[in-house]
Structure formats: C-alpha cells, structure tokens
C-alpha cells in the first residue's frame, strides 16, 4: 500500500513533467547559469583556483535543487492538489516518499548533464573514480532533497514560501554541502584520496537516514492545518 501510493505519486509527477518538461529544462538552465557565474568569480588567468570545480558543482546542485523544489510544489499548490493527495486513503508519509523520489530523480537527471559540463569547463577529473563520485552525488542529493521536500511541502500553506524555502533549507543542509564538496574534491586530487571520499560518503548516508526518518515522522502532523 505504502509503496504503491509512493510510486503512483512519482508516476503522476513524471507524467506531468514528460508533458511540459518545464522543471527539468529550467532547473538545468539555472544550474548551468550558476556554473558560469561562479566561473567568472573563481577563474584567474584562464585557470580555476584549486578545488573550485567541486564547490561549483555542489553549489549549482543546491541552487537548482531549491528552484526545482519550489516549482514542483507550486504545481501541487495550484489547484490545491496537495490537499487532495493528503485526503487519499493512504498513509500520508507515502505521499512524502513519492514527492521525494520525484525530486531526487529530477536532480540526478540534471546532474548527469551538469557533471560532465563542470568536468569539461574546469578540467576536473570527475571520472577518475566514477562509482565513488556517483555514490557521493546520490547520497548528497537524497540528503538535500529529504529536507527540501518536507520544507517545501509544509511551506505550500505559507504566503512567503518563495523566500522562506532557501532561508530554512540552506543552514540545515550545510553538512550535505560540506561533505559533498570535500568528498568530491578528495577525488579530484592528483592521487584520489579514496578513504576521505568514503568517509564523507558515510557521513552523507548517516545524514540521509536521520533526516528521511525525521521527515517521515513529522510529515503527518506538519501537514494537518
């Protein structure tokens, strides 16, 4: 029942996105703009300063992720469909899981384009240890999206949601950004520092476990007005 409803919500979000492709395109374009803006700040004499690539990648993910979260829940707000979902005879946390999966898939799709782009523009050796990098990206994206989905869902009721989402989300997800950036730049060293990357990934996985659990636990009381 739980999994069925979560998948149903995911499939529905997918159907909407396939029709309009709005969120994927805008998110991707925004992420690329972020990369360019940071390139102007961090490139000297044709070369990026050390470690810039990892930082730029994760900042672009965080910024674009906020945009995607806002747009996804704007869709559920228009027509108050979020309330319709909450009325369904299903465990309410299943709705959260469905929305979370949608955001994670969307961001991972955007990352498959973003990562090669950053690698190309900054001569970053992202593909020296592809599996470790993929692990960091997946764990980091889930961590960011787990908090983001809950906050965006609860802010649907609030008039000031556009400004409140980043205000609430960024301070809480700083550990994700630190772990993502440090883990990624450990992989970018001339000799990739695998133990360091694995350690950061472990931290990200712990973060995911704790915050997904917390979100599942608080979703129902948060969504009743």
């Amino acid at each position: 029942m739980f999994a069925r409803v979560a998948l149903l919500v995911l499939k529905k979000d997918f159907a909407i996105e396939v029709k309009s492709r709005e969120i994927l395109y805008t998110t991707l374009f925004f992420a690329v703009s972020c990369v360019l803006v940071f390139a102007f700040a961090l490139v000297r004499d044709g070369r990026a300063i050390d470690d810039a690539a990892a930082g730029i990648l994760w900042i672009a993910i965080a910024f674009a992720g906020t945009l995607a979260l806002g747009r996804t829940f704007e869709r559920e707000r228009y027509g108050e469909t979020l309330r319709a979902l909450l009325l369904a005879p299903a465990p309410r946390p299943a709705i959260y899981v469905g929305k979370l999966l949608g955001i994670v898939v969307l961001l991972l799709l955007a990352e498959t384009i973003l990562v090669p782009l950053v690698a190309l523009l900054f001569q970053a050796a992202f593909f020296a240890r592809p599996w470790l990098l993929a692990g960091l990206l997946v764990a980091g994206t889930i961590g960011f999206a787990s908090v983001g989905t809950l906050f965006a869902a609860m802010l649907v009721r609030s008039r000031t949601r556009d400004v409140m989402l980043p205000i609430l989300l960024y301070p809480i997800t700083v550990p994700v950004i630190i772990a993502g950036v440090r883990g990624t730049s450990a992989l970018l060293q001339p000799v990739p520092d695998e133990p360091a990357a694995a350690m950061w990934m472990a931290l990200l996985v712990c973060f995911d476990v704790v915050f997904v659990t917390l979100a599942l636990w608080t979703f129902e009381p948060l969504m009743t007005e």
Binding site: A15, G79, E80, L86, L87, P89, A90, E225
Partner: protein, 232 residues
C-alpha cells in the same frame, strides 16, 4: 467502516486572535443534503476542512459514526469526498489521466469507472484533452466527478455551482439527490441562496464562525434568511 451520522460537538478553530469557527455543533445523517449558507468569511470553508480531516480543530470533538477524527485512519479518509474551491485537478494532465490517477490512489481499478465519470461530466469526447484548455464549467464538472469517483459516504462540496450553466446545475443537483437517496451525507457550502433552494433538505446559516440557524428546509425560507444575514 461506513457511518450513518457525523456529529460535531463544540468544535472551535482559532488562528491566534481570529476565530474561524466558534463552538460549532451539528449532526448530519445519511440521506441529508445540508446547505451551509452564509456570507464570505463565515467559516464555511474551515468547517469543510475540519470535516475533511485536513484542519485540526483547536478544541471540540468530530465523530464519524463511532470514530473520532483524531485517530482518523486512512480508511476513514477514503469514505470522504471533497470538492473544494480550488478544484484538485492537475491542469497539465488530461481529464482521463486526472481521473485515472485519483481512482488508483483510492484503490479503484478499471477504465469503466473512469469512462462513466467522463460521460457523467459530459466530457466523453474530450477525455484526452489537457484540463488547462477547459472552461471553468467543464473543470467544475470534472472536479465533481473526481470527488465522487470512490462513492464517498460523506460528500463535502464548497461552492459546487461556480461556473455552471443552468442545465449543468440541474444535472449536478440531480446527482446529489441520487447520492443522498443512496445513503450519503451531503454537505454543500454556498453563498447563493437561489441555487440551494429546492435542493437542500436542511439549512444551516453561518455567520462569523458560528451556526446561527439550523432547520429543515421549507419553501419560502429564502426571504427570511436574506433578512437574517442582512440584520445579523
């Protein structure tokens, strides 16, 4: 699981110093079509939100048969159908996709149910068009069918006649009468006395978060309610 009566006892809902509902008590039975009348801001929408389990009361008790809303299990929500002012439809999806999604969400399978709902909304030939291209009246009819897909026991309608022409109003009214005859409890909020007249079996008049009158509908009451709203 099915209930024949809903009972509200002293239900209040405050937002800080603003009172949306003040000690509302009401009972509605299977077969009733209750008209919730009152001006904008009288608390009709909040009351419907409370009945739909989406708004938690600050104090008071809401019962569906023998169950209270606080322990509201998912199965109880499955017996409630809500048509809110915002229509609970995804404009990017087609009418059929919208209905199919909600049917699956309620665990109902089958094209026939979706087809029947489309026909009943008068949209059989436009089922595959995106809802964003529909007029307000078409959306309203579709939203009503969406809310009734799972044959709810408690039907909550917020301004169901918005954007409907006379013919559609008659169709919807007939639909609601049939539902009530089959045992549903129908509660509809409206500020339009003319449309409610002749359809509802009971009338509750709300003002400033309170029910100020609750009686069986009878012809000729309209003028009296006008006077009450004006005078109160």
């Amino acid at each position: 699981m099915d209930f024949d009566v809903i009972t509200l006892t002293d239900v209040s809902r405050h937002f800080g110093r603003r009172r949306a509902l003040g000690r509302v008590s009401l009972t509605a039975r299977s077969g009733d079509i209750v008209g919730l009348l009152g001006p904008n801001g009288a608390g009709k929408s909040t009351l419907i939100g409370v009945l739909a389990t989406l708004v938690a009361p600050t104090s008071g008790d809401v019962r569906y048969g023998s169950q209270t809303s606080r322990q509201a299990p998912p199965a109880l929500r499955g017996r409630i159908g809500l048509l809110a002012h915002d229509l609970h439809l995804y404009p990017e999806l087609s009418a059929r996709q919208n209905l199919a999604f909600f049917a699956q969400l309620y665990g109902i399978d089958g094209r026939e149910i979706v087809d029947a709902a489309l026909a009943s909304a008068g949209l059989a030939d436009r089922g595959d068009d995106a809802v964003s291209g529909f007029s307000r009246g078409m959306r309203q009819r579709l939203a009503l069918e969406r809310a009734l897909l799972h044959r709810p026991r408690l039907v909550l309608l917020d301004e169901p006649f918005t954007g409907l022409d006379d013919h559609a109003v008659d169709l919807v009214a007939g639909r609601l009468r049939r539902l009530a005859a089959e045992g549903a409890i129908v509660l509809l909020a409206t500020h339009d006395l003319d449309l409610a007249d002749g359809l509802v079996t009971r009338v509750m008049l709300m003002r400033e978060g309170r029910i100020i009158a609750d009686e069986a509908a009878a012809p000729g009451l309209r003028a009296r309610y006008r006077a009450m709203i004006g005078a109160a």
